[in-house]
């Protein structure tokens, strides 16, 4: 009697062990081979433009006066809800123009070509390959996007410390000292505004690139601006860079700006 009961116990124990261990294995197997539910996912848009590093070439030979730059500045500021402040201290700018001596302070000769001396240079965020603003940001609100090299801002994360403004050698960043909403002439409802206390700057129109369009300033530039992938040897920008002498702003700082100027 004793013996049979022990045998029986061992049999049952063996079956139980097989049973317990087999279930999870079978479940895992079933999950792997169909039978699993679809989960939500994300993906890039179908028409999005792709690049390793977006870059811009500005042909300053085509610029006659500040009038030629107005349409691009207006196009940019309009679609991005950039406010217009009359007080210079509150000014917000994504793209604006600067004299040569201010845009390229380290490359000014004593006696300058007259055209260069007076022509307005369009300036904007350089989307540096080695951006000092990104290093300065304590919250990673501004970051270099690995997918396309754009120096982006996540306005939600910006705490308004303005370290990035101090770090940027190009003055490309503006701070919202006041609520910008009342100072936006015409709001573009498809793009958010900003709130008081955040920094903003050019985003290379990442929202337009994502739907297969060129940046707004390039569209409105009448051929002055050319946009493309810096690391695609067949791209428009590379063709221009191959054929023309170009300069970049404050190159000696080692920030590797992605905006090139044909002078």
């Amino acid at each position: 009697m004793m013996e049979t009961s022990r045998r029986r116990f061992l049999q049952m124990a063996g079956i139980a062990v097989v049973g317990f261990t087999a279930t999870p294995v079978l479940d895992a197997f079933a999950a792997e081979h169909g039978g699993h539910e679809a989960v939500p996912s994300v993906k890039p848009g179908p028409d999005g433009l792709k690049a390793k590093q977006w870059a811009m070439v500005i042909d300053t030979r085509k610029i006659k006066s500040a009038k030629d730059l107005e349409p691009m500045i207006e196009a940019c500021h309009k679609i991005h809800n950039v406010p217009t402040f009359t007080d210079k201290h509150h000014e917000i700018k994504w793209i604006w123009h600067e004299e040569y001596k201010h845009a390229f302070p380290s490359d000014v000769a004593k006696f300058m070509d007259e055209r260069l001396e007076h022509v307005p240079f369009p300036v904007l965020c350089n989307h540096c390959e080695n951006p000092p603003c990104v290093r300065a940001c304590p919250t990673k609100a501004t970051f270099k996007r690995p997918s396309d090299g754009i120096v982006m801002m996540d306005f939600h994360r910006c705490i308004g410390c303005r370290f990035c403004m101090a770090a940027c050698p190009y003055g490309a960043r503006s701070f919202n000292f006041r609520d910008p909403r009342p100072f936006i002439k015409e709001t573009n409802k498809e793009f958010p505004t900003r709130m008081k206390g955040v920094v903003e700057k050019c985003n290379f129109c990442s929202e337009l690139l994502a739907i297969g369009k060129q940046p707004a300033c390039v569209e409105a530039s009448n051929g002055i601006l050319t946009f493309g992938d810096l690391y695609d040897s067949e791209s428009e920008v590379r063709k221009l860079l191959k054929e023309n002498f170009t300069i970049r702003r404050k190159q000696n700082l080692g920030t590797e700006p992605s905006v090139y100027y044909i002078v």
Binding site: A38, S41, K43, R145, D154, K189, P192, R194, M195
Partner: protein, 129 residues
Amino acid sequence: MDDRKYIVTGLVIFLVIATFPFWYNLGKASPGPEIKLTEKAKAAKECVMPTTYMRAEHMQLLDVWRHSVVRNGDRIFVNAQGKEFPMSLSNTCLDCHANKADFCDKCHTYASVTPYCWDCHIDNPKEVK
């Protein structure tokens, strides 16, 4: 040792006062917020995710959306049914839910939360004031 009646009376008074809010409000529970859907939202029948999920987790969803769009450049959301939506609070969510006062604010006010989405994202793209 004949303080029993005082003690019991005191206890009864205490219990009455302590439980006063409960029985005073008995049967008067304030009704939950009633939200109104726009015609467009009604026609769509379901949001990007099931209603129960949206009701409880829309803020987490928006957080994921923002991260995905801003940081990774992935702008299309594919839900469990395989339906695709551009991930945009301004252009996708607020396009259907264009009635902030009757939709968003109803629950937010009820729950006493004040999200600052609309400090930047423009409310009511369709509503003409």
